[in-house]
Symmetry: D2
Subunit: 472 residues, 4 copies
């Protein structure tokens, strides 16, 4: 079957069937149905207010759109492939209901500016939702961190035990990453909040539209400044995908640690049974699938970013059909990030930390070696020399099969006469943590302060989000 | 609702509901249903042949699988989310039909080697299909090229008119790209043709399986050589995606030219109405949407390649859940390439070349300047000097608002006394094309030869594909 | 030759020679030399202020660092591979000059927080420079746009002529893109302005450092809040690369148009000889290499973004050696964007627009068809029906080989009796441009307003940049 | 200073200085110097053989090129930026030496086909070198595997202990990956072995070149079939980068395991001191930097692949300046892969496996649970039910704090009366490994066979490489 489309007046043949499907976007842009209706209602109201259509015509159109919206929400609206995209599906359904007056809705409008508005509305909502999701994960992290301001575990560099840190400090590192993500999502949200409607196909329109009125109606504080750019621009999609990719990288780093920490070898945590799965062959297995999937899904989000960048590379002005390809990447990146954040929140809230294993792990690996070097510095030695001496101490201890604490003062003094009784104190792991008492450091006091600062920030942002929801 | 899964014996809690959906792959791996059943039938037959299960048990299992396959083909099989993935869906449905004996099917098998087989079977079929699609586009290109061995148009470098070429030569350039794609698809198909079944979860199995028998049954000439690699390897997916990405780049280059050539400015071709669309606002528009979409879809294929590479980067042995994420990228890259090739074939077969415009375009832009330099070389001048002299001629002609043919011999001799009557002959565009008579060159004679060589190659490959289909 | 490194105390063998080169970063991180010295001076001053080293020691260290900085600036500093990286090169050179006291500089510091500071300092400067470059291109665009507020050319969608626009409007579309880039660069600059020094290797340090003092000294308004995150975080690099990638996509779109517009077929512009090149074989060629390179270099910037995302994916806390790989991507993306922007500015300032060709191009392609439909709407017809009627008019004109203006009123009325004398007026191209007189539209009046708004914005931002330079 | 270039005849202004640098490729394509000279010598010989230049002229040209080649090899050749690229540098230097006759070298040739040949020659050598590097790593892996056919360690899925495997089996999994890489490198090498010389700028040339003779001279068995494709094609670069990316993913997986296995937690291996480094702050650290860098460098190789795909996307025929951007990606991907393979070989050869720790690790984690289920299957139970019963056993043992071996028969029989004395045998780890005795399985016998097969394959391929070297 061929198509008879609203644009087909000058065509002498219907579309090839395969092409009809290839060309149609209704398979995925139906997701924009509510945004499309909202934009159309705003447009119709404005047309009437400007006298371009009558109040009566507008009322009919809006009533029809309302009934369509209801069906969309109820899931009973029948999307039709032969109507190509969400715009023609809504417009066509409107004509089915109210007749020829429906044809007045598209006055001064093109699908080019229409879809630009729809996608911006979707992206705004997606950004808001992800901001909320990020706040929820931060909330969970702060909650769990608050339980563990005195739990000591090894901090790692190069995945080698480095220096002891408190677990809350470790969890707060992820809070920092997520706070930057939150800020980037917020910037992106601010930047997209301009209404493109009125740009027409590319050059504006000859009708006296009130673009600001439409913008106010859909909740955007501003209008775009250039009609060509309005229909050609997909920066908001690129910025969404870039921001989500960076976020995904953070989630993958956390996921990697969850996988590592749940190994028999590390043994630092146990996944709740509701967040782990088993094996079809090996009856003993309990696998951290949720964390692995979060890690694995990083690939698809980055892939979508690349897809969108490739898509736009080298496209001349203004609208090109290639732009239709922006949507699936956007939708899937959003769904992925949304799901991953929610699952991660659940993991964080339910995971059991094995604090005994963590503590135990700090005793092997000479994590207090830096403290010994710092101690030598307080005895007057340049750090570089102190580092060299303690390296010798470590080598000696390793060969002797001892920890640094187990070395006698005599043994230490064999390597440097500067060592005295203070050396033993310097090697105490708990003391070492306490001594890292500068802003951003791991001492329980500083971590407690960081926790309070984070909680305060969170409260302010949650309040702001709630206020925005109420308004919007 | 939580799940009660075949792996859940040691779990004390059901999965979180969100996790169940997050973890489940049945939403997309149902596409592997036929491959999964085929693999299971091969496994069951072998288990019986090896005496691991009885002939009767095998018969029941196979009968059950057959009925499941029929439902899958008919589209009546009910996939269940609580059965997680395609493997448990098939196994569960089998148990519903034949009872506890269904539980014997998974003897000596894990979902890890099972999914590795399923995805390989899918990829083999996808590669075959794309090879066929590529042959079809080549067929269309050869057909159209055969019509145009004497149609002259400008060849371009830097999108500036460079030298005249014949249209068939231009079209055959794409045949070359596609032949390399075909070869890469073929290499990838050969490389994946190893059966992983028998690798178990990662280490093989304690049952005396006959792995070669299973391989023969599913049409693979060999088995994989290492069980850990068998379940951890996704090279076949990476290679599929890399090959399809390069193919997509070729398609995007062709699509770009189709878009360019259909502009009013170039005017070299007209899309058939069945392959073009219009505008919702601008009644005069006829847009090359099909070509733009082919160009735009390059992004998503490259994006999927990136996704898969990111996915696998840094994963330790053997199976990790991340690998579940390979499928959607693979499926969508295949669908995209398949559709693009079919649409492109249609475009090529139906497009109208405006040979008058092409010819006309060869008259402006000094496309015969190189011929004039070559002519000076035959008069004894080093090419580098000849190039310099003709540059002066071009500058002179440009200022005089003339083509090179329009310059008089006197004018030419003002610049170099080496010019004589032969210069005029050298400038004849048709002669210039005829003179490029070396292998791979654009002279109609050479292009005719290239056309025959291409058609012969095509015939051989089509025969090979048909033979493979009959066999397989 | 093996290495004897400041870290090698506990090692019993030198590094393998190949490994020494593989591991060393001095080949590229020497670019951070000035940043490294600046950070070290700030650290030394603070150590003295806090009484951790004496005033005398600090004076010696700073004097030594100053002399090193002078050599770096003069290009006479000898970087040594056996000193591994920029940090050990500077520290080693310092020890060569001032002896063992140099060893006190590294007190309370690790290369992990040191490099984090260095790269942040570099990125801040890179962001500032790119902001300046973007302002310069905007300046050039505004200048050229100001010359062409009445130059009419076809606006394109799908690269098909769509509706006439003025050239200034087209150029201002790129100003819009660049303004968003500028805002993103600015956001990124704000977000990175936190000093990580004091994070030590990962856990902070036992010395009573004054982190805020160091931050103030290097011009950062804040310090990072978590030591683990401070050494593990490369968000500022990711955000730089993402922002630069989006910028590059904009540049590639403009470059594509420059290439198109300079073809013989479009003929809308001529590159200045200083921005074009020729062919080694074809004497007539003048190629838009500069624009092609700008377009082509998009790939490498996007490639660097991907590289950095892949790099970080799945890395556990805190510092891992993988992070060393961030630098070359960052440096090259910066250099590429910097060069492309500067070359583009030159192109824009020197290109000759062929306004006659532009004007001529608006006469073919029925660019006024929408105006005719709009006119029918003012006659009472729903737009959808008007669109259908004008489609018929276009088809009629196309077959008759006429433009719409050339149709007689009688011919028009054959298709619809609604047409009257006003139709002819509606079809006037200049009138059509004038009528698109809404905010963001292409009417010369609106474009003039947009131009003024852009110039005002530019002036404010240039002022802001200059103020920042004076301060910083 | 501006440039006076061999192409600049028709230009009235020199290049802008910044543009000269921006446009020039000599900064990086000097790496193609030897390839360029080799191609030119082949071209000159053929020109003489075809009578296009005289024998004397050819002799002079070749003598000049030989002296240039000697200087290049000696590192004394002075590359000049004002000579733009490697082609003009060589041609210019030739003219400096032998005068105007040098200008005859470019007869029937363009830089477009010249660079296509140069890059193909480079890529062929790079592919050969990487094949050799891969064989060396395989050699090292086989050597180390041969030492450990009886060393038992846990095999992992989801990074959870799954089933015991022998270390040789684990190492051979990487041999499998590398063998596929080797095959892909080999396919790519075969596919690129076509000489493009004679394609001219895009259309061939009017001189009677003998393209096959040139091909033979540079060691290519065939010539390209289409001149437009010859200068527009960069498939060999894409295929090189795709192949190298997949290889890099393999290396990153191995590197990840090396990092994991060298942690205190796993403790499965110790890096040789020549392949590890220390910390500037923490005296005890020994970090697996080499493996981390191999893992991290995956990003840049994938980034280069993306860069090249983006570069080519949407480029019309034939040559476009964008293609100049292919080289740096290619060079750096090659260097990176080459270095990573060589460093990895060194790591493999020198690493100390801690076989005691490996063995110890097999005792915890119920790695023999599948064996117990398989045992129940031999007692007549369907596997699915056996899996369920053993899950109960595992849960029981976990709560009792026992391993499965430590459970008494009575305890087992509480869960299922099917258990008898055979259960204890089934649980023996060594027996379990022995029983996985099918092709590709982990039993020492099968691993020994796999080892021999791998060594045989290696010997054949090493022989083939050596033969190729002697020939080429």
């Amino acid at each position: 079957m061929g198509t008879h489309s609203p644009w087909s007046g000058r065509f002498e043949k219907p579309l090839d069937e395969l092409v009809q499907r290839f060309n149609a976007s209704i398979g995925f842009d139906q997701r924009l149905a509510e945004e499309d209706v909202a934009g159309s209602i705003a447009h119709a109201k404005m047309l009437a207010a400007q006298g371009i259509i009558t109040r009566d015509e507008a009322a009919k159109i809006i009533e029809g759109l309302d009934s369509i919206r209801n069906e969309i929400r109820a899931g009973t609206f029948a999307f039709r492939l032969d109507r190509e995209d969400i715009h023609f599906n809504v417009e066509g359904a409107l004509a089915d209901r109210i007749g020829a007056v429906a044809g007045k809705l598209h006055t001064g409008r093109s699908r080019n500016d229409q879809v630009a508005l729809d996608v911006r509305l979707f992206t705004r909502q997606a950004l808001e939702q992800l901001q909320g999701d990020v706040l929820n994960v931060i909330d969970a992290l702060i909650d769990r961190a608050a339980e563990h301001t005195a739990t000591i575990l090894p901090g790692y560099t190069h995945l080698q035990r480095a220096q002891p840190v408190v677990l809350a400090h470790h969890l707060l590192a992820y809070v920092e990453m997520l706070r930057r993500d939150y800020a980037r999502l917020s910037d992106a949200r601010g930047r997209l909040a301009e209404s493109p409607l009125g740009a027409g196909a590319l050059a504006g329109t000859t009708f006296p539209l009130d673009r600001e009125a439409v913008a106010r109606n859909v909740g955007f504080p501003a209008i775009t400044r250039n009609s060509l750019d309005s229909v050609a621009d997909r920066d908001f999609a690129l910025e969404f995908l870039a921001t989500t990719s960076i976020l995904s990288v953070h989630l993958s780093r956390f996921a990697e640690e969850l996988v590592l920490w749940s190994t028999q070898e590390f043994g630092f945590l146990i996944f709740d049974d509701a967040y782990a799965t088993g094996s079809s062959m090996m009856p003993q297995k309990k696998n951290p699938d949720t964390a692995e999937l979060i890690r694995g899904k990083t690939g698809r989000v980055i892939g979508h970013l690349v897809a969108a960048l490739v898509l736009l590379k080298g496209l001349p002005l203004a609208y090109n059909k290639d732009l239709q390809e922006d949507k699936e990447a956007l939708f899937d990146a959003y769904d992925t990030a949304h799901d991953c954040l929610r699952v991660l929140e659940g993991i964080v809230r339910t995971v059991t930390f094995r604090t005994d294993r963590m503590r135990q792990a700090t005793t092997e690996g000479f994590l207090n070696a830096t403290d010994l070097a710092d101690y030598l510095v307080t005895r007057g030695l340049p750090f570089r020399e102190a580092h060299g001496i303690v390296s010798q101490v470590v080598l000696f201890a390793e060969r002797a099969g001892k920890t640094l604490e187990q070395l006698t003062l005599e043994e230490l003094r064999l390597i440097s006469p500067l060592f005295d009784a203070g050396a033993q104190t310097a090697l105490d792991v708990d003391q070492g943590v306490l001594r890292r008492d500068l802003p951003g450091g791991t001492s329980p006091r500083r971590v407690q302060q960081a926790l309070e600062e984070a909680r305060n920030w969170w409260s302010v942002e949650v309040g702001r989000q709630t206020a925005a929801d109420t308004q919007g």
